[in-house]
Amino acid sequence: MSLVSVQGLSVVYEPNGAEPVPAVKAVSFDLDQGDFVGLVGESGSGKSTLGFALTGLSRPPARVCAGSIIFDGVDIAGLTPSQLRVQRHGGFAMVLQSGMNALNPVRSIRNHFFDIFAAHGHVAGRDREARAAELVGKVELPASVLDRFSGELSGGMRQRVSIALALSLEPRLMVFDEPTTALDVLVQHAVMDTIRELQKAERFTAVLISHDLGMVLEVTERVMVMHDGLIVEDATAAEILAAPRHPYTRMLLSHYGDPRAAVVEVPGLASRGTERATNVAQAVAGGAPVVEPVVEPVEPVVEPVETTPTVRRREGRAAREAIVVSGVSKVYPRHSRRDQPVTAVNDVSFTLEPGASMALVGASGSGKSTIAKLITGVEHPTSGTITFGDLRIDTIRRRQLKRLHTEVQMVFQDPYAALNPLHTVEYALTRPVLNYSSLRGRDARRRVLELLETVGLTPVEQFAARLPHQLSGGQRQRVVIARALASDPQVIVADEPVSMLDVSLRAGVLALLDSLRETWGVSMLYITHDLLSARLVTDQIMVLNQGSVVEEGRTATVLQNPQDDYTIRLLDAIPAPRSSAPRNPS
């Protein structure tokens, strides 16, 4: 008999006074003891809702409205809260998505363990200290973390602690909800290895919920693909790799590629060879639609933008300029006497030619966002110079910032936080138009609609009237890009513009950024930790490690033939579902 048997499970969201929304629709599956199963889907597919239901954590407005979850012979969907609480020891545990915040900031790590031991009474008082030390040892942390508070630990350490806490319940089923999403690339890899080894050693049944099909295929034996509340495919990892049956799975899979390959292709984006920019419009038109009509893509891949004379506003503007960064360092002063001053950027030099696109790649803390701040004049470098034409950015005064920002604009990482939720799209775009151009009244409005058309949000009138919450993540990011374009800039600094978006939406936004360069000659500094997207939209690449450039050159050349150890580690950390050779965990 299987450990978990889910039959016809449905979960609805019933917000106060609103129509109930089904999130999980009559889902059935079995899990055997010791299985390692992946649950994959994009945001809104219901995968986390299902994970919460599996561990008895459905809270209003979510409600299990039909079906059963038989865990070891008991239907946990029908238990009272206190029965459920007792079941958790030796039952089911959950590791949350944002493990960074899963720890109580005012309780020491030791007390977290002791609270669990006290609640279930499965560890005697005198053994508790030793047991807690043993558990943190299992996730490769020293026993000294028990004395610490969560604020004193790094993100990876916190996620390891929450895994150890979940483990202290001696669970037979463990659900990992996006356990590494919030972590740095290299740390992600290490934490995932720990999870994999623990699962092998302890033989608990594990469910790994993730949006990242590549990672799931690499780690798990069996994969369930979820789409719109339904499990559309349930097969072994090998089967899915070899012959994905459902179009949605095929669509997800098509967005993976190896940045080291000679030709890289994802739907809607051209492969970028060793030479300069291939024509994107051609690639979009030429690439066969991978998504079959059965599954509606949440957002259509961007159509090539028609460059009408009204859109091209380059005429009469100053000649295009390059951004020249030479010998720039940024040192942040120490906070207190115990700290050391932090060198965020160390002697970095490069030139961003007009119309070029350059990737700035590195793990978090490598100084790539600091460089973005320096180039946009938000902060001044400690030493070195940055020039844009005759404008000295490194010593720029507040009064000149407006001039700089007319030409250099920024696209932010989080499209959910970059738009004021109280204002319509039109308002968000009208502000910079009024600010940076002399257009007023009807002309300004026409310009706003033009911008929306440029970023492919049509019908424009409809989108102009919407509020941010009525847009998908990809659509929001397009609005953010349109806002950056309002001043008709020469340079766009894009800081991880797609890292918060679903895989299927990423290609569209990337294609948009690329087409801006093609049609308008906007140069782009593309900041990312994602080497695949860097390969797709940039010609030049710089790899940063702890503030210093460790490698630079043509994107294709560097990625195909990496010289620096750090670049190789970054490349290794990318899940490569289609590469058959098994990689040894580092």
């Binding site: 609480r85 958790r88 915040n101 109580n104 669990i116 609640a119 279930h120 508070f149 004193e152």
Partner: protein
């Protein structure tokens, strides 16, 4: 420990600054107390030079350099010597403040703490039992009660429970026949007199604490560590108190510090309505009678109490929130 030393240092520094400002401000004002007194007399006819000399001799004219005056002033402050009150001549300011301060501290201070503790507990309960009558009753009741102005509640209580029903005395801190001393009968009498003013303060301030705690608690209940604690099967009580409420109380401590600091200075209206012989009533008298020495001493006391309250809250933060200790 470093945290504590830092906070003590900060307290001493701000205390010194407050005392110095209290010295400087009156000297930056044009005129002198003697001028003010003479100007008042001059309304009834010319003032003779001998009268002026007598007034100046009575009030004292500063001698020596400003620096000497400052040292003299510091010396006096340390010995609690604030001179003699005009209004209650020849009583010293120190003795007046000394008699009034305990009444205010005990009544308003105690009630403020009680209101904070009760309000916070009710707020925790309301958020934890959200949507039930345990939530609705304190929330609606608290909003209703705190919507009344301070003095209006006081007048209502005074009128209905004092005059109409006659259950409670309408003024003073103790009966006219009693003399302040530490005996059981006197303490009971004082307690009896304090019920109406205490109830007024409790009614008007409780609602704010309930609502404040409820809303921060609801936010914390949505935090991941609370969900994770539930996922780990902790006792509901542990989750509510040690995980949710323990974090939710932190932002409210700041408001508590402000309320505590306002105890000495902010009790003016209630003490006035109930003729309660506390600092607020004394301040009122001092202002009405232009009693400069008394006012100066009271302002200093009020400033110091605000500083001390903030110091206490800082220390509480240090104990309750490990993040501030670094």
């Amino acid at each position: 420990m470093r945290y504590l030393l830092g906070k003590v240092g900060l307290l001493l520094l701000t205390l010194w600054a407050a005392v110095t400002l209290n010295f400087l401000l009156p000297r930056l004002m044009p005129g002198s107390p003697a001028d003010a007194a003479i100007a008042k007399l001059a309304q009834n006819g010319p003032v003779s030079p001998s009268t002026r000399a007598a007034i100046e001799a009575q009030l004292g004219v500063p001698t020596g350099s400003a620096w000497d005056q400052y040292l003299q002033y510091l010396n006096n402050v340390v010995r609690f010597d604030f001179g003699v009150s005009y209004t209650f001549f020849p009583q010293s300011v120190a003795s007046l403040v000394g008699t009034a301060l305990p009444w205010t501290l005990v009544l308003v201070g105690f009630v403020t703490i009680v209101a904070f503790v009760c309000g916070t507990l009710l707020g925790v309960l309301a958020a934890w039992k959200r949507g039930t009558w345990l939530d609705t009753l304190p929330t609606v009741g608290g909003t209703f009660a705190s919507a009344f102005p301070y003095f209006w509640t006081a007048l209502l209580l005074l009128f209905f429970l004092g005059y109409v029903a006659g259950w409670f005395p309408t003024s003073g801190a103790y009966g006219s026949a009693a003399t302040p001393e530490f005996t059981g009968t006197f303490l009971l009498d004082a307690l009896y007199h304090s019920i109406l003013p205490a109830t007024t303060i409790l009614i008007t301030s409780l609602g704010g604490w309930i609502l404040g705690m409820r809303s921060t608690m609801i936010n914390t209940l949505g935090d991941d560590y609370v969900t994770f604690a539930e996922a780990n099967g902790l006792h509901p009580g542990t989750v509510a108190i040690r995980y949710a409420a323990r974090n939710a109380i932190l932002p409210n401590l700041t408001s508590f510090g402000l309320a505590l600091g306002g105890v000495v200075g902010g009790s003016l209206l209630v003490e006035r309505v109930f003729s309660y012989p506390g600092v607020g009533y004394l301040l009122y008298t001092a202002v009405v009678n232009q009693d400069f020495p008394l006012m100066q001493a009271l302002f200093l006391i009020i400033t110091i109490s605000v500083l001390l309250a903030n110091f206490i809250v800082d220390i509480l933060y240090g104990i309750l929130d490990p993040r501030t200790r670094r």
